[in-house]
């Protein structure tokens, strides 16, 4: 590595040496060329002055004829060819070579001319000499030669200058190379120093002194290089610092004055100054890197923002007023200049925004605009006038109130609005204004354009200029027609209310919000026999029962404090000194803000009502007691009934059974000993005993129906009827029975009880058709009043409809027991069961033609 750096460094040094060498070469060349030009110029000068000398000599000779004058000429004639040749050899420029070719014949001609003049002089032909001299040919030739030589010299000098310029250019280039190489050498020296340092540390312990020494030498030489490099760096740094300081000073100046932010081409903040942070209330850390829209207030239109961006992205400076939003949500206005800094392609590289805080000015502008808007939109007439009473401004409210357009009034006297009988008012008002006083809510009358008088309330205030001098008056005029009407309406309604409150049978009162009662109706004074002075405020306490008063003094102030309805019953003493109970209600009346402004109260005499209530309560209590007693009685009766029927069930049957049993025993054991009449008696005893047994059974069944709970279930009626018929012994081999069963809807009820109904009805039908050759019995269902009604129809003996109402009464029989046996309980049982199901039973019949029994089972029991 070190070797590589070293080699590189050496190469650089060698390169520098070569470059330096070549610079020396170039300098030598240039010096040579400069000498050459000088030599050429000297030769050319020599040639020219030789020719001038020759000519001067020739002229001297021509004038004097003295040959000594010809010496220069002769010397020139000898040299001129040689000099020309020398010049041609020296010059390396083609153009100059040609020029010398051109000069040679001219010199020859000049020499020939001089020779001819000399010859003529020698020949003494003076006129010819004079003519030859004065014809100017010699001078023309001499001028031509001089011009040619001058041109020649110029070309030579230009060539030399070009050469020198080229040399200087090369010098600069080479110097650059040297600087670059020096830089690189410096760099490699740094690198080398670093590497050596590292190497030396690494190898320090192992390296021998010689190597150390060499390295040290190397270091020393590097240090020299470094020092030189440092010196160079320091000088350039100083330059840079100077430049930076200048820049910084400019920025400080700007920062001191303005709010500055710099964003990149995409609008991201890359720099903000303190003023920016202060006004935006963000810290610098919060702002840097953020989009500038962070402080966008949303106030400006899209077009406004677009215009800004179009301008600055186009590389143009934008200027305008912007409303921004600070971190805490407040807004501020800034006068803004955005300067785009352009990159190499002319594209904006970054934008510098320089702003000034104009929030105060803006808010003033807004306040002024708002004030103007308020004045314009006000329904009140707002009029400006001078101290002389001349109208200076006239708003829309004024137009509306007085009917005059602003053009009609501005510049006119305010007197136009004032009725003749109130002219002096205006003078007083203006006098007050001049003294700096204001007139407030002064109710008066003014004239409308159409001539009618209008009720107004006027407020006039002085207007002062910036110096505090009163220059005019502002006048606010409000139409108070509505207010006056409202006041009148209020008085009217209050009057009506009091009339009404006086006419009601209740006592009534009105209290202030704090509970101070300031008005009672007439009825109150009639009842209490007191005066308004005694009653006002809290004076009502004197008509209260001292026992009940403390409770009132708690509840009423509590209602006042809470602003809630007051409701209470308490006694009030009447004019005779006796108490009656009143139900008192106090209702809070509220204004539009919900604040209680008044209380309206009534006291209703509820003494009679209370007494009636008490009576009703007492009666109810008595009734309840009676119900309890009656229920207990009924329960007892029920219990007695139960034990009665239990006893009947057990004890009544036993003797009956004994009668029948022993009669039978007599018949069996002693039958043959008895005469036929005796046996018939015993049979009668037995028959009666069995009838007694049947009666007991039926009665028990009937009485149990009342107590038995209904066990309601869905019932297949058809199946139930079939089972019933089977139980009754169908078929009846000894009789001819035509029993038809039609369509029967299913029903819901107590199966056991309903079976009893069917048994009783069908067995009745069988019984009362006993005497028919063919018994026709039909079981079916029909609709009666929209309900399903089952029926059992027979062609039996029927009955007289006159007795139909007794048909279902217990023990009621329509036939002699010799004809049709029975207890007279069957149909009573049927009726009780049907009624317990919520249905009804009825019959229709024709004597000797048959009977039909119908029954229903209540709503929804059939389906």
């Amino acid at each position: 590595m070190i070797l590589a750096v070293l080699t590189g460094g050496l190469l650089l040094v060698a390169l520098s040496a070569w470059v330096t060498f070549s610079i020396f070469g170039r300098i030598k060349d240039t010096a040579a060329s400069r000498l050459h030009v000088e030599a050429v110029a000297a030769l050319a000068d020599d040639l020219q002055s030789a020719l001038v000398d020759a000519e001067t000599g020739q002229r001297g000779f021509s004038l004097t004829g003295d040959d000594t004058f010809l010496d220069p000429y002769l010397a020139v004639r000898e040299r001129v060819g040689l000099q020309l040749k020398e010049l041609r050899m020296l010059t390396k420029i083609d153009e100059d070579g040609k020029r010398l070719e051109a000069v040679a014949p001219l010199i020859d001609a000049k020499m020939a001319e001089m020779a001819r003049v000399i010859e003529l002089r020698r020949n003494g032909n003076m006129p010819a000499v004079i003519a030859a001299v004065s014809n100017g040919k010699g001078k023309r030739l001499m001028d031509s030669i001089r011009a040619e030589l001058k041109g020649f010299l110029r070309v030579e000098k230009i060539a030399a200058a070009q050469h020198e310029a080229q040399f200087l250019g090369e010098m600069r280039w080479l110097f650059g190379i040297i600087v670059t190489l020096s830089g690189l050498a410096m760099l490699s020296a740094f690198l080398l120093a670093y590497l050596v340092y590292r190497e030396s540390r690494h190898r320090l312990s192992e390296q021998n002194h010689v190597e150390t020494k060499r390295l040290l030498d190397l270091q020393i030489s590097s240090s020299g290089l470094l020092r030189r490099a440092n010196a160079t760096l320091q000088s350039s740094e100083a330059k840079l610092m100077a430049s930076i300081k200048e820049n910084g000073d400019l920025r400080t100046a700007l920062d001191e004055h303005a709010i500055v932010a710099i964003t990149d081409s995409r609008g991201r903040i890359v720099y903000v100054n303190d003023k920016f942070c202060a006004i935006s209330k963000y810290t610098r850390e919060e702002l840097l890197g953020q989009d500038h829209r962070l402080i966008n207030s949303g106030h400006h239109s899209k077009e406004f923002i677009r215009d800004l961006w179009t301008t600055i992205t186009g590389g143009q400076v934008w200027h305008g007023e912007i409303k921004n939003r600070a971190k805490d949500g407040t807004f501020y206005w800034v006068d803004t200049t955005v300067v785009p800094f352009l990159g190499e392609q002319g594209q904006p590289r970054q934008y510098v925004a320089i702003r000034a805080d104009i929030t105060e000015r803006k808010s003033n502008e807004i306040a002024v605009a708002r004030l103007a808007a308020i004045v314009t939109s006000s329904d009140d007439a707002i009029i400006g006038k001078s101290l002389e009473g001349v109208v200076t401004s006239w708003n829309a409210g004024a137009e509306k109130t007085f009917g005059y357009a602003s053009g009609e009034m501005e510049g006119q006297s305010i007197m136009r609005l004032i009725p003749p009988d109130r002219r002096e008012e205006e003078g007083e008002i203006l006098a007050k204004v001049r003294r700096g006083e204001a007139v407030r809510n002064f109710d008066t009358v003014r004239l409308h354009k159409d001539g009618r008088a209008i009720d107004v309330s006027v407020t006039v205030s002085p207007i002062k200029d910036a110096g505090g001098r009163i220059v005019g008056a502002s006048k606010v005029v409000r139409g108070i027609m509505e207010r006056k009407q409202a006041e009148a309406a209020l008085r009217d309604s209050e009057e009506r209310f009091r009339t009404m409150a006086d006419s009601i049978p209740q006592l009534a009162w009105i209290a202030r919000a704090d509970g101070y009662i300031y008005w009672y109706n007439r009825r109150w004074y009639e009842y209490t026999g007191r005066t308004p002075e005694e009653m006002e405020g809290w004076g009502w306490q004197c008509v209260h029962d001292p026992v009940a008063l403390p409770r009132v003094m708690v509840s009423w102030p509590a209602a006042i404090a809470a602003g809630t309805r007051f409701e209470m019953e308490f006694p009030l003493r009447n004019v005779e000194g006796s108490y009656r109970t009143f139900l008192t209600r106090g209702e809070p009346l509220r204004d539009s803000t919900g604040q209680v402004v008044q209380w309206f109260g009534t006291n209703t005499d509820v003494t009679v009502l209370k007494e009636a209530e008490e009576r009703v309560r007492r009666l109810n209590a008595e009734l309840e007691q009676r119900v309890v007693e009656r229920t207990a009685q009924l329960e007892m009766i029920n219990k007695e009934m139960e034990s009665f029927s239990y006893s009947v069930s057990h004890d009544l049957r036993t003797p009956v059974r004994a009668i029948d049993g022993f009669s039978q025993a007599v018949l069996e054991d002693f039958g043959p000993l008895l005469p036929e009449e005796g046996r018939r008696y015993l049979r009668t005893i037995r028959h009666s005993a069995q009838h007694m047994g049947a009666l007991i059974d039926d009665l028990l069944a009937f009485s149990q129906l009342k107590r038995q709970a209904l066990n309601k279930r869905p019932i297949d009626t058809h199946e139930l009827v079939r089972a019933t018929i089977a139980d009754l012994g169908s078929p009846w081999p000894t009789r001819q029975v035509d029993l038809r069963v039609g369509d029967l809807p299913n029903c819901s009820g107590d199966r056991a009880l309903l079976k009893q109904v069917w048994i009783n009805l069908v067995s009745n039908a069988l019984k009362y058709t006993r005497k028919r050759a063919i018994a026709e019995i039909e079981v079916g269902c029909s609709k009666v009043d929209g309900a399903d009604a089952f029926f059992v129809r027979d062609n039996g003996t029927g009955f007289d409809m006159r007795y139909a109402d007794k048909l279902f009464t217990v023990f009621q029989r329509f036939h002699r027991s010799e004809d049709y046996e029975g207890t007279g309980v069957g149909l009573a049982i049927v009726q009780r069961i049907v009624e317990r199901h919520g249905g009804r039973v009825w019959a229709d019949a024709i004597v000797d033609r048959g009977a039909t029994f119908h029954f229903t089972l209540g709503k929804g029991a059939t389906s």
């Binding site: 239990y646 069930s649 036993t654 059974r657 004994a658 039978q664 047994g693 049947a694 007991i696």
Partner: protein, 156 residues
């Protein structure tokens, strides 16, 4: 086992007429041997549990069936039934209620207490004799009592 005082049927009946009619009906079918009659509930329980006047009785000699009326003096029939069923010595004896009551509560309560059969005394004397005869034939001859096989009835 079947000693001279062995009892086949315990008849508990307070009404003398009914008692006579029952015995007459049983007699007609020759089922009226080895019958012990108790006239009230207390007497019936004394007999069953060998207490009081029956203290010396062999307790292992249990009747094949007990005919029990419900409406009894002193201790009613349902209580007698309850006590018989509550004692392990007697809880398996068939007990047939023979009563005038058709009250549903009586029927339900009897079965709840574990009665073997419930028969209502018919008023009609032919049907009454028939009922008693059937009971005797069934419980004394046909039915096998829990006491075990080999126990036979000697018909008079």
């Amino acid at each position: 086992m079947n000693g001279p005082d062995a009892v086949e049927l315990l008849l508990i009946e307070d009404d003398p007429q009914d008692l006579e009619l029952v015995l007459r009906a049983l007699g007609k079918s020759n089922l009226n041997r080895q019958i012990h009659v108790a006239r009230d509930g207390a007497e019936a329980l004394d007999f069953v549990f060998c207490e009081g006047p029956h203290a010396g009785r062999d307790a292992s000699n249990v009747p094949r069936v007990i005919l029990l009326d419900l409406k009894l003096p002193k201790i009613n029939g349902l209580e007698v039934l309850r006590r018989i069923r509550a004692d392990s010595r007697t809880d398996m004896i068939p007990v047939v209620v023979l009563t005038s009551s058709k009250e549903r509560s009586d029927v339900v309560e009897s079965y709840r207490l574990g009665v073997s059969s419930y028969v209502v005394k018919p008023v009609n004397s032919e049907r009454f004799s028939e009922a008693v005869r059937n009971i005797g034939l069934y419980w004394l001859l046909l039915n096998l009592p829990p006491g075990g096989a080999g126990k036979t009835v000697r018909l008079a």
